[in-house]
Symmetry: C2
Subunit: 215 residues, 2 copies
DNA sequence: AAAAAAAGTTGAACTTGTTCAACTCGGGAA
DNA sequence: TTCCCGAGTTGAACAAGTTCAACTTTTTTT
């Protein structure tokens, strides 16, 4: 099995393998995702997709760890990831989860090539499409419409982050918990309560008490 | 006393006045801001700036209110603004402040022309550069590099929002307060404690106690 | 300058969420 | 199969932050 990408991740050495089965179909997920943001021609979609390479990631493997530099931007075809930081107190603070049809990156570290504050870990066996920095820049240069595409996607993401911050201020932990369950039923069903607590910004003990109070 | 909707901007007509003095110099602030993100030629900078029109905004005037549709994107030349939402409990939750050299918009409402959830209010007599939707689209079309510019700016903004969310989870109110003072000394000096509390997501009484505990 | 309206302070009672420790339970590795 | 580890639960004591109300100070309006 060809070993295409390898990452030195802090202590850990991770070898990503190229999937053994053909995943021509998989690009449809990416194409549909793009089309939701901008109506592109078939040629343009193909021109974009050819830069993204498929990889398998095993459960519990890290695509990125704090301190290392993010060398890729990604898109999830299958499976689920957890993007989190470890704070001084040792709490794992989850920024977001990325399941099928989600983008996966540390923009900060990728753009500026500075050490990342984030960890990206597969919660189950997953398939992703990855693009490295050189190819991403080549993609921007070869297809100017990609600038517009990512401009639009970034602005939409911005809106989501603003809304989440407001929810964190205005809602109680209980309200945030049920909002999360309702908004992301497909993702939340794959998660442990501990992981959900890390996303909500509360202790897992308290989440347990929230659940009890609702029975 | 919570702000009630006596400022019905859906109905209210706000007459922005064009500044009486020439502000040729003012565009330098915008040009410098753009250059921080992308190195553009003098012609490109001029090509962008000509779309942005200067306006005066009086203290306490609203550029946008919840429920109305955002018809502009803006940039602050002088003064200071507060961007906030009013929640069900009547709390004013401040998303951010925009002083000189900051961008000012409700991307969500502006992009999709949907009713805004935000209020944008001048905290002091201010000067802004505004662009409407038609001109913004014309700008994107006339200068493709503007797509790249806003793609980069949006991605940087994204990073800031992610970091703020993590700070909200990992830091106590006291830590967040001092972080804010240190990070934005120029802005925080213009604000009342009540406004700062609204940004930190805490009650102004508690902020008062934080300050006392540090003396 | 006086009056009115906000902003800020303080204390007490209260709610929300944390921490620690002890326990149960289920699933994966040897 | 057994062992063990990590997830989840529960309770008690604690810390963080809110609410309300009364008060003082500062700012704005007239």
């Amino acid at each position: 099995m060809p070993l295409v990408f390898d990452f030195k991740l802090g202590f850990q050495y991770i070898a990503l393998t190229r999937p053994t089965i053909l995943i021509t179909m998989s690009y449809d997920v990416l194409k549909q995702n793009i089309k939701k943001n901008l109506n592109l021609s078939t040629e343009e979609l193909e021109g974009i997709c050819k830069y993204y390479k498929p990889f398998d990631v095993k459960k519990k493997e890290f695509l990125l760890t704090q301190g290392s530099i993010c060398k890729f931007e990604g898109f999830v075809l299958e499976g689920c990831f957890r993007i989190f930081t470890l704070d001084k107190k040792g709490n794992e603070n989850t920024l977001y989860f990325a399941a099928k049809d989600w983008w996966l990156m540390d923009i900060d570290s990728f753009m500026n090539q500075t050490p990342s504050n984030l960890n990206i870990q597969a919660l189950e066996d997953s398939k992703v499409l990855l693009i490295n920095r050189r190819d991403k820049n080549a993609l921007y240069d070869s297809l100017p419409v990609v600038e517009k595409l990512f401009r639009i996607m970034s602005q939409k993401a911005l809106v989501s982050w603003q809304r989440r911050l407001i929810r964190n201020h205005c809602f109680t932990a209980k309200e945030r918990y049920f909002h999360f369950l309702e908004t992301y039923p497909d993702i939340s069903s794959k998660l442990t309560d501990k992981q959900i607590a890390g996303y909500l910004g509360i202790s897992h003990e308290f989440l347990s008490k929230i659940k009890k109070s609702e029975k």
